[in-house]
């Protein structure tokens, strides 16, 4: 009988729970937010492998999101191709751009890599604005809807849920396998990892391309959800937002960044009635979270579970078998005397 790993059970139960949200959500707005969280999570799950597990300072993923969104809007909207195919093409384009970005920059030491990714996002934003004929320039493009049954808000929510599940399952698998341990070893000590034969550059590049693919798919879904995309949406601050989701969630876990994404997306909505003071409130709350729970929300959740259902550490006292030990010693000294 197959032994159901606890993480798989957790994932399954989580999916069940998320599927039930449309039934008890109050209105379309809450479903919209839930769908947005799902879309962000698709990107963050890919980015999590790069930032949380491989420890890279990647702050340019908004550029890949932008590429995915515009590719989808152009292919499925302007040119009228099949939306599912367009979504896949957006993903592949995201992955390809991830490859192009990663090849030269992953060799750079940490801080310079951050600068390269940041520069990438700034350049993509400028190019999108400048290539007006292709991307609509300042006016932007309409984001087409998926065909039935996914064009209603609830239908689209389930579609996004399915895709988010796929990506979560993929990253869970990567993390639990040898790959995951290799990535963590790169994060913690590159030299030791290299000494153990981990192909550092190849590993970094592969997860980066995967995160690019995730960003491309996420971009396509994002364009569809927003129903209209403009260059103003893809500002550098969004990249920092994704990065913050992961750090606040805690490195090295999948659940942590998920909770981080949920919290950070929902927070401005809760602060909405504050109008002018909303952003200030957001900054203060972020600072408090960082100072109070520096290990991340994921760790907080783990500590919470420990309290409810502590993992009992079984203590087994070791009792040496003295007679056998004595026997062994005698035999050994006999052998030694015999050798002389």
């Amino acid at each position: 009988m197959k032994h159901l790993n606890s993480k798989s059970t957790q994932l399954f139960l989580g999916i069940l729970f998320c599927s039930s949200i449309p039934f008890w959500a109050n209105d379309q707005y809450q479903i919209h937010i839930a769908t947005l969280i799902g879309i962000y999570w698709v990107l963050v799950s890919g980015l999590n492998l790069v930032v949380g597990f491989t420890g890279q300072l990647s702050i340019g993923h908004v550029g890949l999101l932008s590429i995915g969104s515009y590719a989808f809007a152009i292919l499925a909207g302007k040119l009228g191709f099949d939306p599912y195919l367009s979504m896949l093409v957006s993903g592949c384009l995201g992955g390809f751009c991830g490859l192009m970005l990663g090849l030269p920059s992953l060799r750079l030491p940490g801080f310079y890599f951050a600068m390269a990714t940041m520069a990438f996002s700034l350049i993509v934003n400028e190019l999108v604005l400048a290539q007006g004929d292709l991307t609509g320039g300042g006016i932007g493009l309409a984001g087409p809807l998926f065909p039935a049954p996914f064009e209603s808000p609830i239908g689209f929510y389930y579609f996004v849920l399915a895709i988010a599940t796929l990506f979560t399952w993929a990253s869970l698998n990567i993390v639990r396998s040898m790959w995951g341990r290799a990535l963590i070893s790169i994060r913690d000590s590159e030299v030791a990892a290299q000494a153990m034969g981990v192909p550092i550059f190849r590993a970094k590049l592969i997860v980066f391309v995967f995160s690019g693919f995730a960003a491309g798919i996420s971009g396509a879904l994002f364009a569809s959800l927003q129903s209209y995309i403009t260059p103003d949406t893809f500002v550098f601050e969004l990249s920092l937002f994704f990065f913050v989701c992961i750090i606040i969630g805690g490195k090295g876990s999948i659940l942590g960044p998920f909770l981080g994404t949920v919290v950070l997306t929902a927070l401005p909505e809760l602060a909405a009635p504050l109008a002018k003071l909303g952003n200030l409130f957001y900054g203060i709350l972020l600072l408090i979270v960082v100072l109070v729970i520096p290990e991340g929300i994921g760790r907080l959740a783990d500590m919470f579970i420990q309290k409810i259902r502590p993992r009992l550490v079984k203590t087994e006292p070791m009792k040496p078998d003295l007679s056998r030990l004595a026997q062994t010693l005698v035999t050994y000294s006999d052998t030694k005397r015999g050798q002389k």
Binding site: I21, N26, Y29, G137, I139, D232, P268, A275
Partner: protein, 392 residues
């Protein structure tokens, strides 16, 4: 089960938070107000907010609309289209507002107008980008500000017909608004048979514009037309013109006349020979007085702004005020807040008298601002938010 428990707890607390923001469906008429109070175009948004709040206060004091008090739900979008979309959805579905005013930023408007249209909520549009209005796609969206085209053609007409200039230099910024305005301006000029001698897009935070102005002069320009709402950029254009001693007229976006520009100028004289698209409703007439409705509103608003001189563009305040008044008019005439009835009333409105303008809409024209209200003002005649006419 542990994962389930964790997620349940988290989402429960989130839902509790969301429920708290949901106002009880009582006897109020809810108006949603999407405003970028922080971030780009915030000075316009803050001024429009003054007008909106004043109108709401006035109407509530005299009994409200159809017996209900107005509840104003203000959301700060900070210039972020994603936030604007989320708040539009929140206002439409959670708060269940009857009307939405805004957003102020055209970039946000492009994303929210379709959403509000799908939700069937009447939307008073106050962004100027031409693409925001479409009677077929967005049947319940009605614009009360002028269109971008009205600004550009008014300025172009003044430049070509009154000042009789023909060598135009266009300076715009690299924002979404700037790039599309530069394109429209060039198109409209070419329709009049003029090709710009120099056209450039500049980063709005560029610290010195003398290079671009030098190039414009070298290209033989006899008029400079800036299309940007960035105060810093416009101030630097005027400073560059003054510092290099070039006596060429500058005609363009109304932001050229904002009081903040005056403060950024190196010398007050740099504001001379500067004209911008403006409105008859905020122009001092030949007897030195403002039109009566405008003056009345100025008197009402002045105490709220500190009682002294008003140093914001007054048409912003008037626009906000009129937006709420239009909602009052439409609801009272229709006898209800049913969206279909509101649409019918607005589409058959001829000359609804507001402070900022007299609006007319029809089933095929949802841009309500009349061409007759457009004029050109002289920037250096700024007083209390209004201007004198530019020399005609």
């Amino acid at each position: 089960m542990s994962c389930n428990f964790r997620k349940l707890g988290l989402v429960l607390s989130l839902s509790a938070g969301l429920l708290v923001t949901q106002a009880c469906l009582g006897d109020t008429l809810k108006i949603g107000w999407l405003s970028s109070l922080t971030g780009p175009l915030s000075s316009a948004a803050i001024a429009e907010n003054q007008g909106v709040e004043l109108a709401v206060e006035e109407i509530n004091k005299s009994g409200g609309i159809l017996g209900k008090q107005i509840e104003l739900l203000t959301r700060d979008t900070a210039g972020d289209p994603t936030k604007a979309v989320n708040f539009a959805q929140q206002l439409a579905f959670t708060d269940k507002v009857q009307f939405v005013i805004g957003p102020v930023n055209s970039g946000e408007g492009l994303a929210t107008v379709p959403i509000l249209a799908r939700a069937g909520i009447p939307n008073i549009v106050i962004g100027s980008l031409d693409e925001l209005i479409d009677p077929v796609k967005y049947p319940k969206a009605f614009r009360m500000i002028n269109t971008n085209r009205q600004w550009i053609s008014t300025a172009n007409d003044y430049a070509l017909k009154v000042l009789k200039k023909s060598k135009v230099a266009i300076i715009a910024d690299t924002s979404g608004y700037g790039t599309s305005s530069a394109k429209s301006a060039t198109e409209l000029l070419e329709k009049a048979g003029i090709k710009p001698v120099y056209s450039v897009l500049v980063d709005p935070n560029k610290t010195d514009l003398s290079d671009e102005m030098n190039k414009a002069r070298a290209a033989g320009a006899d008029i400079v037309m800036p299309w940007s709402a960035a105060t810093g950029l416009l101030g630097r254009v005027l400073n560059a013109r003054g510092d290099m001693g070039w006596s060429v007229p500058v005609v363009g976006h109304p932001a050229l006349m904002a009081a903040q520009i005056r403060k950024l100028l190196n010398k007050p004289e740099y504001w001379d020979n500067t004209y911008a698209a403006g409105y008859m409703s905020t122009t001092y007439m030949s007897d030195g007085k403002l039109p009566a409705p405008t003056q009345a509103l100025v008197n009402k608003v002045r105490p709220k702004l500190g009682g002294g001189e008003i140093d914001i563009l007054f048409w912003w305040v008037a626009l906000g005020y009129d937006a709420v008044k239009a909602i009052e008019y439409a609801s009272k005439t229709a006898g209800s807040t049913d969206p279909a009835a509101i649409q019918k009333v607005l589409e058959s409105t001829k000359e609804f008298k507001g402070v900022y303008a007299n609006y007319s809409w029809s089933p095929t024209e949802h841009n309500g601002f009349p061409d007759s209200n457009m004029t050109v003002n002289a920037a250096n005649t700024f007083k209390d938010g209004s201007f004198k006419l530019a020399p005609h």
